[in-house]
């Protein structure tokens, strides 16, 4: 426990690296605390809560990586459903056993190498992540020839293309029937483990010279170019890394819900992610985390309003779909009163917390 004693008595280091060390330790402590919480949850909470917590972890991964290209780099793109679909299909096709695949593909048999391959989940996930990143890389060449609204439209088109391909490439994706009987392998540890990995990579990238370059491209692309930054390759970097994590999250999603079909990966998924990162504050990674968790659980908590209610003797029959109305109203309120989102472009930092605590202690 030397690091713990270091935390209590950090010795003589320059002030700056001292704060950084303290922050790292606090973050590790918080992560350990959160892991303990997950452990308790997995042991004592109901299956439904565990499922939602796992899903929340995956949405955090998706939101954080989507925010990298949309918020940090400022390239308004609408394709994450394509990347999630790619990751989900690749992982599922690699982990399903040959017998299950033969049983599923009734209309047309699965093409050869895929029909016999059966890999463990970690390997399949890595392959899915890399393939999705490759797809993003190739897609980037045509896509980043345009900017702004045009970029949104082109990426939206790609998102649709993938869905249509999934619907029609019978011998690979099993068409509209989708893939069934995927083993339920994703638990809270997989989801939040990937989440920790994603946060580590994305936060480190954003807080590096590369992150500054990405933000420079967002702020003023021509000026960034004039300062020697090749905007195209930096957009490609953000896009590819974002796709890598979205692909892996897609793979875990497939192993959480166990059945996937093209209808799962429509624009609606992208739209939900867009809401999350806008509510969290475009460009804020910690904002994306916060909003993803709120969004996943909020959607469930709001189910209350769809049940029959008795408020002060007034009886309201349950109205299906009511929660989406309330959800939309909350969003409208956000757009009117807090257009910057929960966090704006700020990030959570330990300094805030410690400073506010000190401030409170200082007041009489």
């Amino acid at each position: 426990m030397s690091w713990l004693s270091d935390l209590l008595d950090p010795g003589s280091l320059p002030a700056r690296s001292l704060t950084r060390r303290r922050d790292t330790r606090l973050t590790l402590l918080a992560a350990a605390g959160f892991a303990g919480l997950l452990w308790l949850l997995e042991g004592w909470a109901g299956g439904y809560v565990v499922h939602m917590t796992t899903l929340a972890g995956l949405f955090v991964v998706l939101a954080v990586s989507y925010n990298l290209i949309n918020g940090v780099t400022g390239q308004f793109s609408l394709e994450p459903n394509a990347f999630v679909a790619c990751g989900a299909y690749v992982t599922a096709l690699l982990t399903l056993s040959p017998a299950e695949k033969a049983a599923s593909f009734i209309l047309e048999p699965l093409v050869w190498p895929l029909s016999v391959i059966c890999l463990p989940l970690p390997v399949a996930l890595l392959i899915a992540g890399l393939l999705t990143a490759l797809m993003a890389f190739l897609m980037g060449f045509p896509v980043f020839r345009v900017r702004g609204d045009y970029l949104a439209i082109v990426t939206l088109g790609f998102g649709e293309v993938i869905r249509v391909v999934a619907n029609n490439a019978q011998s690979v994706t099993n068409g509209p029937l989708g893939l069934k009987g995927i083993t339920h392998l994703t638990n809270v540890w997989w989801a939040w483990g990937l989440c920790a990995f994603t946060l580590f990579v994305v936060m480190r990238l954003v807080n590096s010279s590369y992150g500054r370059a990405l933000k420079a491209v967002r702020e003023d692309e021509a000026a960034a170019e004039a300062m020697g930054i090749n905007a195209f390759w930096h957009k490609m970097l953000a896009f590819t890394i974002s796709a890598f994590f979205e692909g892996m999250a897609g793979g875990l999603l497939a192993h959480l819900i166990t059945t996937i079909s093209p209808s799962l990966f429509t624009f609606f998924l992208t739209f939900n992610l867009l809401i999350i990162i806008v509510v969290g504050g475009l460009g804020s990674t910690t904002g994306a985390v916060l909003a993803a968790v709120l969004f996943t659980f909020g959607g469930e908590w709001l189910r209350v309003v769809e049940e029959p209610l008795n408020i002060l003797g007034l009886h309201i029959p349950g109205i299906p779909g009511m929660r989406m109305v309330i959800f939309s109203l909350i969003l409208v309120a956000f757009m009117i009163f807090a257009r910057q989102g929960l966090m704006g472009r700020a990030e959570f930092s330990w300094r805030w917390i410690l400073a506010s605590r000190r401030g409170r202690r200082g007041t009489p």
Partner: protein, 267 residues
């Protein structure tokens, strides 16, 4: 190629549709000189800068940088070859801090790749430390040390102009293109700016080409002047001779009835 010409422009032209913004421009900037490009509004000065820095592709003509043809190169590539610029309509990264704006300038020459940056490998960490140190030095040089943590967009106009210069210097240029650096500055700030530009040449060995409307500033600072009007060079030489050139006087002041008739003819 003539001796000592760091930058040589031959027959550079730019047409926007039917409008000819710059026509057949010839220009030489010798190494270590403080050169100025002046002319009335709309003369095509900024268009020249945009072509030299790669933001705009010339319609024809060539730009020789150290004897090498660079016309039509991407802006980021030209910057890495050693030509940096500032913008007339300040284009800072408004939401980044003053320090970050300068640090962005170093990024183009960063050797560590993104994996090294994510993993904080020793190579990257050493480069990052170097960038932080040099950024602090540059802010000191332009006199913005105290404002390092400030959001760039919140600073006063004159300070933003200085930050643009610091950011351009971070890209380690040999030639600095300054587009109206004194615009919006008060007389004290302008005088300090002139001192700064002279120091950049004397202490850092930079060559400077600048566009400016403040004639006192230009005449005191620049050693070689080129005067543009309607996209063409109408005079060149040292400040003294340019100041008394009849073509320049006409371009700036007009010559009564003739100029009115001229404008009428254009309309």
């Amino acid at each position: 190629m003539s001796q000592g010409a760091l930058l040589e422009v031959r027959g550079l032209s730019k047409q926007f549709g039917g409008l000819s913004a710059v026509e057949d421009l010839h220009l030489k900037v010798a190494e270590g000189r403080l050169a100025g490009l002046i002319g009335p509004n709309g003369a095509g000065k900024t268009t020249v800068f945009n072509m030299l820095s790669g933001s705009l592709r010339p319609s024809s003509g060539s730009v020789l940088w150290r004897g090498r043809q660079v016309a039509g190169f991407k802006a980021s590539r030209i910057n890495r070859l050693g030509i940096a610029r500032t913008f007339q309509n300040i284009r800072l990264f408004g939401e980044l801090s003053v320090l970050e704006n300068v640090l962005v300038g170093f990024h183009g020459r960063l050797r560590a790749n993104f994996l090294s940056a994510i993993l904080r490998l020793p190579g990257y960490v050493a480069e990052e430390r170097g960038m932080q140190r040099r950024a602090a030095e540059l802010l000191e040089l332009v006199g913005l040390s105290g404002l390092a943590a400030e959001t760039a967009g919140n600073m006063a106009y004159g300070q933003q102009r200085l930050l643009e210069i610091a950011r351009a210097l971070a890209t380690a240029p040999d030639l600095l293109l300054l587009d109206e650096p004194a615009a919006g500055m008060n007389p004290q700030e302008t005088a300090a700016l002139a001192d700064l530009v002279r120091r950049l040449r004397d202490e850092l060995g930079l060559t400077v080409l600048l566009i400016e409307h403040d004639m006192q500033f230009v005449m005191n600072l620049c050693e070689d002047l080129t005067v543009l009007d309607h996209g063409r060079v109408i005079a060149r030489g040292d400040p003294q001779s340019v100041q008394h050139d009849p073509a320049v006087m006409e371009a700036y002041l007009g010559t009564g009835l003739e100029s009115l008739e001229g404008e009428g003819g254009h309309a």
